[in-house]
Symmetry: C2
Subunit: 572 residues, 2 copies
Amino acid sequence: MRFSNLYVKTLKETPKEAVVESHKLMLRSSMIKKLASGVYTYLPLGYKVLRKVETIVREEMDRAGSQELFMPVLQPAEIWKETGRWDAMGPEMVRLKDRHNRDFILGPTHEEVITDIIRNDISSYKSLPMSLYQIQTKFRDERRPRFGLMRGREFLMKDAYSFHATDECLNDEFENMKAAYSRVFERCGLGFRSVEADSGAIGGSGSQEFHVLAESGEDEIIYCNSCGYAANLEKAESIPTTPVTNEETREPRLEDTPNIAKIEDVVEYFGIEASKTVKAIMYRDLVSNKVYMALIRGDYEINEVKLKNSIDETELVMLTDEELNDLNLKKGYIGPYNLDSEGITIVADETVTKIVNHTAGGNKVDTHYMDVNYGKDYEAHIVADIRNALSGEACSRCQKGKLDSARGIEVGHVFKLGDKYSASMGATFLDVNGKSNIMTMGCYGIGVSRTMAAAIEQNSDENGIIWPVAIAPYIVDIIPANMKNTDQVALAEQLYSELISAGIDSVIDDRNERAGFKFKDADLIGFPFKVVSGKLASEGKVEIKIRRTGESMEIEAAQLVETIKKLMKETT
Amino acid sequence: MRFSNLYVKTLKETPKEAVVESHKLMLRSSMIKKLASGVYTYLPLGYKVLRKVETIVREEMDRAGSQELFMPVLQPAEIWKETGRWDAMGPEMVRLKDRHNRDFILGPTHEEVITDIIRNDISSYKSLPMSLYQIQTKFRDERRPRFGLMRGREFLMKDAYSFHATDECLNDEFENMKAAYSRVFERCGLGFRSVEADSGAIGGSGSQEFHVLAESGEDEIIYCNSCGYAANLEKAESIPTTPVTNEETREPRLEDTPNIAKIEDVVEYFGIEASKTVKAIMYRDLVSNKVYMALIRGDYEINEVKLKNSIDETELVMLTDEELNDLNLKKGYIGPYNLDSEGITIVADETVTKIVNHTAGGNKVDTHYMDVNYGKDYEAHIVADIRNALSGEACSRCQKGKLDSARGIEVGHVFKLGDKYSASMGATFLDVNGKSNIMTMGCYGIGVSRTMAAAIEQNSDENGIIWPVAIAPYIVDIIPANMKNTDQVALAEQLYSELISAGIDSVIDDRNERAGFKFKDADLIGFPFKVVSGKLASEGKVEIKIRRTGESMEIEAAQLVETIKKLMKETT
C-alpha cells in the first residue's frame, strides 16, 4: 500500500475524551473514529489489525475442532423469557420493538440462540459433543462507555458454545479451549495470564479468565511465585498472616473515641496494629432484602464477590446512612459486640475469629470497644474467607510460594455452564439406553476488539504504538529519506516491490514530506520495522529500525527480504 | 472435515414456510435456520458458502483500490436528520432508544456515517479520490419478510462509497466498480447481467444493477439481442410498434358499452386491435397531492417508474373508487376526450399521440368514444415514454436488434450519488486554487447473503443444490460405498488425506449409512464432486460423479487429486 493512498490522518494532539493509552493512540493514529459514545468505526488501519486478530482466533478455534456459524444480532424476546434473563438483564441489554410491536433485543451474548438451535437439531448422544463458535458484533448499553474499545457499546466478540452428554466430556472441552486460548494470545504476541475466576451466580466448578498484563488493567491478578496458581483478586485465596501473640484474652471495655471513625485513626488513637482491629460493614441484598454485617480484620479489604458467594446472594449494596440510622447504627462505630443483632446476619472473615483482643465499634457514636474476642464475646452466623488476598501473603495452593500481584485486562473467559440454559430451554438428548437427559454446556468468549486495545495498553511508548508483528497492520514501512533523491526513491520502490512479492505486508511512504515527519507517523502507527532508503542508497544499502527495541542496522538492500523474514521470527 | 462431526441435519421434507428454491434447499440442507421472521442463523455449511462469497468480494474490492473499514451498526439519529432521511425513511428503518433516551437506528445503509467521517478527515483535493468499503450486517424491517435470505430483515451487504473532486473522476470510479462487480460475479461462477437501472428520486446520471439470471427472479430484464443494451424493465426503452394504417381521422362518437370496462372486452366488442384503444389510469401523489391521468395504448402496460420520473413525483398511488366518484369518474369508462379536466394533469405515452382513431372511455358509466384523435380532440400536458418495453420490440439503442427479456435477481447496484449527501452534510474540500467545493460521491452495494441465495435459484435441480465450484462449502465429498468393506474405507481415508494435503476443501462421509443415503445428502448439499470408493476399490479405482452434469467417470485412485484439480478448472 502506498502511504499517499492509505486512509491515515494522524493527529498530533490527543483528543480530550481519551484517558487510556490505547484509546489515545488509536484515535491519534486514525485506527478508529468515534460515531457516538462507545460506538466506533474501525478505519482501514485499525480494521487491518482487527482482522488479523480475528484470523488468529478463527484458525485456533477451527484447529480446536469448533465449527464456525453466524447467529443473528436481532433476537426475539421469547427465548430470553424461557431462561428468565429477559427480566434478569438490566438496562445494559438493548431492547427494541419491530414494526409489528414484537419485542427484540440486540444480542449481548448468544446462549439462548445456540441452545434453541441445538434443542431443535440434536436429539441423540451420537451427535454429541458439539462445539460451535462465531465472531459477531455484540451490544451492551453501558451506563458510562469509556476507554475507547475497552468498554464500548458495540464490540466484536468470539463466542463459542459446547454441548455434551457428560461432565467429563465438558471437562475435556474446557481444557481443549483453555489450550486454544493460550495459543491465540501467544500467537498475537501478547504477555498474558490465565487465572481462576469467580463463577458468579451461575455456579459450576470451572471459570477461567485470560488477562493481557498491563499496568492500566482494570483487574488485579494474584499469582504465586512458586507454583502455577493465579487467580483474579475477586477469587484469589491466600494463607493470611496471623500476628503471633502471647496475650491473654481480656474483657471488653467501652472507650470514648471522639471523631475516631476510620481504622487508621483507631490504630493511631490506641497505638495498636491494624491486625488487632475489626471493621464491620453493613449490607442489604436487593433481592432477598436481608441485612448483613460483614466483619473483616482492619488490615484487610472486604471482597464482595466472596461475601456474596458465602451468603448466596447476588445484589448486595451497602446500607445508606439513613438505613443505618433506622438500625440505631452510625458509620465508623459499628461492631459485633453488644449489638442488637435481630434481623442481622453476621458474616466474619476467618481471620477475625483468630484475633486475641480486638477493637470493635461501640454501636454508639464516638465509642469503641477494646479487647473483644470472637467466640467468647460474640459469634457470627457464617465464618468464611471474605477478604482480598494480599501480595506478599503465602500461597494457599502450594503452601510454599509467596503471592505477587499484577494488573490485567480481561480478554477471554472460559466457563462451565452446566445445565443452566439446557435445563430451562429443554435441550435434552437420548442416551445410549434411550433415556432422556439434559445436555451439559460450556461457553467460551474472547473480546476480539478488546484484545486489539489490550495489545496497545501492553505495547506502547511515548512515541506511539509498538504492534506485535503478528497483528501489526503492516509489517514494514519503507521510507525514502529524501523524495528529491532519485536513487533513494528508486531503491525504496524496488524494495517495496520485493517485499510485496515475498508476501510481506508493507507500506511505502511516498509522501512529499521530510524524513522526520514520516518517522513520527511510522512510530505513532507502530509498524514493527522501518526501512530507510537514505544516504547509503547509492551504495545499495538501507537501514532497518526495529520499533520495539529501537535498534537499527545497516544492511545490503539485496538482503532486505531475508533479513525482515528473520526479524519477524525473532521479534514479538 | 468428517461428515460424522459436521454440523448437518438434512431434512427430507420441505418446511412449509419456504416458497422459493433457495429457501427450501438451504433449510433442507441445514445451511440456515430461522430464529425469527426474516432473521436467520447461518449454520456451519451455509456460513462456509457465505465466507467464500465474502472473500471473493473482498479480494476484488481490494484489487479495485478500495480500502476496507468497518462502520457501526448503531447510528445516532442526528446524522440522519442532517440529510433529512430521519423523516423520509419509513417503518423499514429500525429505530430504538438507548438507556439515556437518545434516538438511534440500526444501519440499513451507511451514507450518513461515511460522509460524517470524510467531512471530518478530508479537507483537500490532495486526499481525493478516496474509496472505502465494508462488509457489514444491515437491517431492514420488512413488512413481510420472505423468500429466506432473499428478503430478510438482517442481511449481509458489501457497501462501498467513493468521494471525488470532479464528476470525471466519479465516472472513472463508476466504471472501475462496474468492472470489479463483473469480476465478482464471474468468479462466483454465476450467470449474470449488468443492466441500466432507474436512478429514482436521487437523480444523477448513472445507476447500474447487477442481476443473477434465474426464472424465479423478481425483476424483469430487457436486453437487445444485437447490441449490448440491457436494462431493468422499469427503465428499459424500446422502439414501439406502430400499426400501419391509411385511415382518415374521423370525428369522435359516443357508443353504449354496457359492462364493457376492460380493454379486452372493448377490443372484442368493437372488433378492433388493442393498439387502437387507449387506457386511462388515474393517480394521486401522496406528497404533492396532485391528480394525474396517465394514458397508455391498450396493448402496453404502464411503467410507474417512468411515469413518476416524467412528472417528478415519488409517491404515486392509484385513485380509489371513492376518489374517482368525487371526480364523477367510473373505473373502466375514463378517457381524455370530453373530460372535465380541471385539476387533472394528463400524461400521455408517446405512442398514444400516434394512433389514428382510437377508443377512449366515455366519462359516463357504460359508454366509450370511438374515433378519438390526439391533437385534434384533446391534448396532454406531458407526452413521454411511460410504458413498459416489450420483448420482441426493436432496440432503441442500436435500432437494429430485437429486444428479449429475462428474469433476474438484483445482487449488486452501483450508483452515482452526486452531491446528495455531501451537500447536506457539508463534505467540502479545498481545490487546487484554495476554493471550497462540495465533493461528489458514488455508492456501490453487493448483497452478499442474497448472492448466496441467488446462486441457488440459478443452480439447483430436483435433488438439491448445484454449487458453483468457487463458492461450494466443500469441493469434494468422498463416499466409501460400503462401510463394512475395509478396502473401500481405507482407500477413501487415504484419498481424503491426499485431497486435504492438496488444499482441496473436502468431506469424507464416514457415517454408518448406506451409499444411497449418502448420495442423497451429497446431492442435496450440492458438493460439486462425489468420489465413490466402491467395488473397484480393490483394483485401486474410484468413481467421480459430477454434480452439475450428472456425468461419472472411473479413474485410478492415484490420479484423483490431479483429476479433481482439472475438473475444478473446467466446471463452473
